[in-house]
């Protein structure tokens, strides 16, 4: 081993952790969702843990369920119930909104893989 060898190995040893931080591990997409009320973020929740969130909007409480890496509205105080009808969202970039209650959820793609959808046309 020469001094040059140590230099090369040292640089690789420095670069690898940086790369892991930058790009993460494979398969880590769509693991979090962001719940927004109005124009501000209410919570950012992991999709790995099953849980029901009760989120206060302008009309009342929206009930949002997380189960098996997916998220959906289970109950809404709005009349149209379009949010509940929208069903589960799971891929990065997917989102469901309850416009009357001003509550929305969006699935966040992680790392450089980013969102599967850049925007949703509806």
């Amino acid at each position: 081993m020469t001094r040059g060898d140590y230099a090369v190995l040292g640089l690789c040893a420095l670069a690898l952790p940086a790369l892991f931080v930058r790009y993460g591990l494979p398969g880590s997409s769509g693991t979090q969702a962001r719940i927004t009320v109005g124009n501000s973020i209410y919570a950012q929740v992991p999709l790995s843990r099953a849980q029901v969130y009760r989120v206060p909007g302008v009309l009342g409480i929206s009930e949002i369920e997380v189960r098996a890496g997916q998220i959906r509205f289970t109950h809404s105080p709005c009349q149209g119930q379009q949010c509940v009808r929208s069903g589960w969202a799971k891929r990065g970039g997917e989102f469901i909104a309850c416009v009357p209650n001003r509550v929305s959820v969006s699935v966040l793609g992680q790392g450089a893989g980013g969102d599967y959808y850049d925007s949703i046309n509806f």
């Binding site: 020469t2 040059g4 060898d5 230099a7 591990l25 450089a112 893989g113």
Partner: protein, 185 residues
């Protein structure tokens, strides 16, 4: 004009030098290893031990960058022709990997000449080549074949594996070079 082969004028005469012969022999060796390695099962897609890398490093250390470039280029070309992958994605990836490895080994060999105290030995050169090979392949794979950014999640793992294989084949190259030096003394 050492390699001139006196033949009747009716024949086409190929003027070959000793360097040409050496390149041909070494390339034949590298191609053999390349083909043998392609028969090995791959633990992860895109991951190979890179045993042909040993030949490249040995050639680089003993005969210089130009010879190494020839041997490596011939290996990729002839190897793909023999395996039937010529001009296929495998070939393009292999070629871009080899090209990047040589691109990085050039300045590294140059360091060995002008700053011997900082010159990387076979292990350092092998790791540099392995990483450059992987990054080059990866970049071409992303640009041409799988333009999905999810691919980048794989990069750290692939580079970790190629670091390990780079050190291993560098160590093998080191042993081979020492034996060759002992034999030629």
């Amino acid at each position: 004009m050492r390699g001139v082969n006196p033949k009747p004028a009716a024949h086409v005469v190929l003027l070959t030098t000793r360097t040409d012969h050496r390149i041909a022999w070494l390339a034949a060796l590298a191609i053999t290893i390349h083909i043998m390695e392609s028969a090995l099962p791959s633990p992860l897609p895109g991951v190979k031990p890179g045993l042909a890398n040993v030949v490249t490093i040995v050639v680089l250390c003993r005969y210089g960058w130009a010879t190494a470039a020839w041997v490596n280029g011939l290996r990729v070309l002839a190897g793909s022709l023999l395996l039937g992958t010529f001009l296929s994605p495998t070939f393009v990836l292999s070629l871009s990997g080899a090209f990047c490895a040589l691109l990085v080994l050039g300045p590294a060999a140059w360091v060995a000449r002008w700053a011997p105290r900082w010159a990387p030995g076979p292990i350092g050169l092998s790791v540099l080549a392995a990483w450059a090979h992987m990054v080059g392949q990866f970049w071409v794979a992303y640009a041409l074949f799988v333009p999905h950014e999810g691919l980048f999640h794989l990069l750290p793992i692939l580079l970790t594996v190629s670091l390990v294989f780079g050190v291993a084949s560098g160590a093998v190259a080191d042993v081979v070079i020492k034996r060759l030096e002992a034999a030629s003394v």
